[in-house]
Assembly symmetry: C2
Homo-oligomer: 423 residues x 2
């Protein structure tokens, strides 16, 4: 039997799971500070609801099957189509604008050789039902706050207005039907360089002059009135102006964007952008039978995790347990248990060693294996003195103190407190 | 097209999603205070790993299919079998005891007519790799703390020792092979009553005398030494003795329990127990090829939610947004945006109204629809005075104050603070 996970699927053992929770909680906190609210949709949907929404590739990569009731069903492929369903299904109950965040796994039968996973977390925020530049500005501000709150010092939101591409068709340089293809080519400029784009446009039948003209007209593009208005709002909301810039070569390949588009780059992280999005006014209404404007973005959760590791911005102490209280016999257990309860009552995460007959060495080894920073030793002698030994596992120091002192010592330092340590 | 969820699957709109998050966060906080650590496993596993682990019924209700790579796969049916796989797969990396919590959805093609769902959250804690009564006591203490922390005032953990049933076979009253069947019958006593159990035992061929003897010998059962030791530890950990009792008629139908078993009942909630578990020393080692003792339990998430609604123990203000800041024109927006930023900097969840041309009435209506408790009105006059109007949407009161006073007013009351409201 295969005692293993499926290819492209992952277990998250405590150490990794804690880091993921830290990132999720940070996102939630920032999203909620802007009034985004949680939404959850089911893992399975009717197949027909998802089919044809993600192009041919999407239909191929989707996990689809027949359930026990002979229904054709499919696993969640993204969070936007289910949200479009929600907007149609509950249109009378959802106050608009509907500002929602959604952080759930999606499933795609990707080729895993590229370091891609078949189950991965999507982390989306969207403002639905309103088309004002102020909504775009708020979205971008929330993005900047999120990235900052995660600990990244240097990052840049590259922002463009999808309408800058329209001049190419307005002037007749590119035929309307060919525009998406030209956009997809320009989108590769960071990967294949300027020459690469010119060559690819050449292969598509554009003369050297026209290809150059296309690139140059984008490169010299001035900030559009829409972008100028959004930037003004972002400034009013206090976003540091070094965090964002107008970048007219940003294209984002997807056809459905109708207004601003943007991507977030972390300085020093070269695997790609960690967040991307824009305005897409024609998508969310697909099931509602009417136009529902929307602006939103998706954070690449795995890339965020990777970039945070590289930038070393995870907090030092994400361990669950702060203190291990030793137990040396069933008879002496009561003092240890009482101390553990007192510590927990002060919101100090406390484990007791669950095998009362174990040696001191074994108990300390367990604390080390789990990276528990403090051990409280409650032996026969300590109980007689009504004291404990507090051992700092990092510094390898220990001291004998009263139980009152112990509680004081282990309380997290509060703002405004003077030093209360008895060391 | 079906613009709806599949039968037995649910969307959670913000109001419900917030309540779920509140419960999940409360559980996590308590679990972590005892040193339980998060574990996540994939939604999909190899089918052969799950098949045959949940009885015939389980195999039938499992969502199973062939993936694009012709592998037979199945959706997570519970969290115990995947945990057993994790224990086998990473046995050299997991410090024992492994205390993990896991809160993920599982999928079962249940008959939905009984108010059952096909996708529901499981919430488990387990202590793996240790067989001491102290571990059982800690598990039970963590359960009591969780239920209390959720806000339930009156609840009872009914606790039994699976070994009390062994006396029935030891004395020859019941044949060993028939014991599970007798246990399943006794297990129904709360549903079908004493007479019901006696009748059912009669139908299974036990004489009236033997059936009565079976019930009576359980009813008069004294606390076993194991239970006595566990109760002693629970007392040492400060668990209120009115929260738990020895209940020798508790059977729990599942065959795999080997030691204590327990269920939690909330006073006044009649739909059933909200948590159940016990010691199961022969299950977790199934893939590791060795015996791995374990004790653990599962909280019924949907029942907990229902019982909390009935007992009215959800906090009053779970709304995401605390304040809506109005915006009355693009020109006046900057003051509103600046105020919103100042409030967010103080961790006050703040929305701005995203359509600057909307009437006051429309902006207030939005706040009402979203249950936002406060609205900050920033009109032309207020901007001229450098003041704002703070409107309390519940009390329907408003006052004109400075921006400094506004921030002070909206800060959550901190412990030890004197009253700072300027009302």
């Amino acid at each position: 039997m295969n005692i293993q996970t499926l290819k492209g699927f992952r277990d998250f053992l405590p150490k990794e799971a804690r880091k993921r929770q830290y990132v999720i909680n940070t996102f939630k906190k920032v999203f909620e500070s802007y009034g985004f609210e949680p939404l959850e949709t089911p893992a399975l949907e009717y197949e027909e609801l998802l089919m044809g929404k993600y192009g041919e590739e999407g239909d191929k990569l989707m996990y689809r099957f027949e359930d026990n009731g002979k229904r054709r069903v499919a696993l969640r492929y993204d969070q936007t189509v289910p949200t479009a369903r929600v907007v149609a299904q509950y249109q009378n109950d959802l106050p608009m604008p509907f500002k929602r965040y959604q952080i759930q796994p999606v499933w795609r039968a990707e080729n895993t050789q590229k370091g891609r996973y078949r189950e991965f977390l999507q982390c989306d925020i969207d403002i639905i039902g309103i088309s004002t530049p102020l909504a775009d500005a708020e979205l971008l501000t929330a993005v900047a706050s999120s990235i900052k709150k995660l600990g990244f010092k240097k990052f840049k939101i590259l922002i463009n207005d999808r309408n800058v591409f329209k001049q190419l068709t307005d002037r007749g340089t590119v035929e309307v039907k060919n525009l998406p293809d030209v956009i997809r080519t320009v989108d590769k400029i960071k990967k294949i360089g300027r020459e690469g784009v010119l060559n690819e446009l050449g292969n598509k039948g554009y003369s050297t002059e026209v290809a150059s003209y296309i690139l140059q007209s984008l490169e010299t593009q001035k900030v559009t009135p829409l972008i100028a208005e959004i930037f003004k709002y972002m400034e009013d909301m206090g976003v540091d102006s070094t965090c964002y810039e107008f970048y007219p070569l940003l294209a984002r390949g997807l056809d459905y964007y109708t207004g601003i588009i943007f991507e977030v780059e972390i300085e020093g992280y070269t695997a790609g952008s960690v967040c991307g999005g824009g305005r897409y006014d024609n998508l969310i209404g697909m099931f509602a039978g009417k136009k529902v404007p929307a602006t939103g973005c998706a954070f690449g959760f795995d890339r965020i995790m990777e970039a945070m590791e590289e930038a070393n911005v995870f907090p030092a102490n994400l361990e669950t347990t702060k203190v291990l209280v030793t137990v040396f016999s069933e008879e002496l257990a009561n003092k240890s248990l009482e101390i553990a309860s007192r510590l927990r009552a002060q919101d100090i995460n406390t484990e007791i060693y669950l095998e009362p007959s174990a040696t001191m060495e074994k108990q300390l080894k367990y604390a080390d294996a789990k990276n528990v920073p403090y051990v409280v030793i409650v032996g026969e002698q300590e109980i007689a003195n009504n004291t404990v030994i507090l051992k700092d596992m990092q510094k390898r120091e220990q001291k004998q103190i009263s139980i009152e002192e112990l509680v004081q010592d282990l309380l997290p330092a509060r703002q405004g407190d003077s030093e209360t340590s008895s060391e």
